[in-house]
Amino acid sequence: MSKAGSKLSISQKIATLDESVEWFYSEEFSLDQALQKYKDANKLALDIKEDLSKLKNQIEVIGDFTKS
């Protein structure tokens, strides 16, 4: 999941994580798969945190209307 996950945008990753959380409350939930799913979700959450910490805004002054 992490390699493929790294190509997704933050919002896509958050959506994927939300789906994972939903699985835990769905009828498909099984204890056998839960541990692996939890590990995947945890990894995805760490990816999102890292992405968030790297996000920067791009600021550009495109015009100065005080001069004309």
Binding site: I10, S11, I14, L17, D18, S20, V21, F24, Y25, F29, L31, A34, L35, K37, Y38, A41, N42, A45, I48, K49, L52, S53, K54, L55, K56, N57, Q58, I59, E60, V61, I62, G63, D64, F65, T66
Partner: protein, 364 residues
């Protein structure tokens, strides 16, 4: 020798006007409005007064961007002119109320007019939802309010493209510059919202945000507009016309962006929820197992109890059949032949006696 100047009337008027233009290229005059009137729905006339002095003012109604009444203190940007009839007046290009009382009065008059036109109708408002990727900002790039706005935006979220147009945010030239900036963004398709930002200031500083043309430009913007002007208590007509009014520049940044700390908190909450769910399930399974073990244990104990009772009863039966127990009750065991003269062995609880049979009789 003094040179004699001979002029026609028209030449005199023309030279006077040239001299006035040269002397006052950009004139701002402050005074109190008197004899305000609108002629033919096109022309505005009023006097600008100070104590017992006054000057006539004239301007096209289309250029009047503030509501005026007599007694109001205003600043006008104007060109002094000697008319062809020899009357001196100011041809006004721009009017701005000054002083808290005049600004408030003008605000109320214009608010009433624009409300009646539906400019502030809530149904016109479009939402600006946090998470935009491209925004246009109109502000003075040197202003503290703009710097606060960017700082909070950076702290909260990233990945946004922010294009800024530097304009004045106070003074008579500001409204026109802001209108041009609004037009600039509206002629393009890049930005998803325009934010008009200006920090706190006096009523005079913020008065340009009640400029009628600016208010109309905001209301007419194709791209949704958010204002973050002054402090919480400052309300301008620009705020009323905007799609979203933020109370301050900082609040504008908060309302435009998601909060990365909040997102991280939600992630942690989700993971905790998953953990709780897994623990709940394992606890339930454990409870189920423990219940089963308890039931099996109870069954085994019940079986053991039954066996113990059976053994006890059998032991009692065996005890009752034990000859020693019969001897204890006072009985004796006879062994030997019962013919007369034979020997008999008598066993009691504590003795063995040998005796001889002397007589034998039948009992029945």
């Amino acid at each position: 020798m003094i040179t004699e100047i001979k002029l026609t009337v028209s030449q005199f008027i023309e030279i006077c006007n040239q001299s006035l233009d040269y002397t006052f290229p950009d004139l701002i005059v402050e005074g109190e409005v008197g004899s305000f009137k609108i002629n033919q729905g096109k022309w505005v006339f009023f006097d600008l007064k100070e104590e017992d002095m006054s000057v006539n003012c004239f301007m096209p109604l289309s250029q009047l961007r503030a509501a005026l009444t007599d007694g109001m203190k205003i600043q006008v940007r104007a060109t002094p002119k000697l008319t062809r009839w020899g009357r001196f007046s100011l041809t006004v290009r721009q009017v701005m109320p000054v002083g808290e009382g005049s600004i408030k009065k003008s605000f109320e008059l214009l608010k009433k007019k624009l409300t009646a036109e539906g400019l502030f109708d809530p149904a016109r408002k479009r939402p600006i939802i946090p998470g935009l990727t491209h925004i246009g900002v109109i502000s003075s790039t040197a202003a503290a309010g703009y710097i606060d706005f960017l700082k909070i935006l950076d702290n909260r979220w990233g990945g946004m493209k922010i294009q800024t147009i530097n304009t004045q945010v106070q003074g008579m030239a500001a409204a026109e510059q802001i209108i041009r900036a609004l037009d600039y963004f509206n002629q393009r398709t890049e930005v998803e919202a325009i934010v008009l930002v200006r920090g706190g200031g006096s009523a005079d500083d913020l008065a340009i945000f009640n400029d009628e043309a600016l208010v109309r430009a905001i209301a007419g913007s194709r791209i949704p507009v958010m204002t973050g002007i002054g402090h919480e208590v400052d309300e301008s007509l620009a705020d009323l016309a905007a799609d979203v009014r933020a109370s301050t520049p900082s609040n504008a940044a908060e309302r435009l962006s998601l909060d990365r700390q909040e997102v991280i908190r939600k992630l942690q909450y989700s993971l905790n929820e998953i953990k709780r769910r897994i623990l709940d399930c394992t606890n339930r399974e454990e409870d189920l197992l423990r219940g089963n073990i308890d039931r099996i244990k109870q069954q085994i104990l019940a079986l053991v109890g039954q066996s113990e009772q059976h053994i006890s009863e059998t032991r009692k039966l065996l005890d009752s059949l034990n000859p020693e127990n019969v001897l204890k009750r006072g009985y004796a065991i006879l062994a030997g032949s019962t013919t007369v003269g034979s020997e008999l062995k008598i066993t009691t609880i504590n003795k063995i006696i040998t005796t001889e049979v002397k007589n034998v009789q039948s009992r029945i």
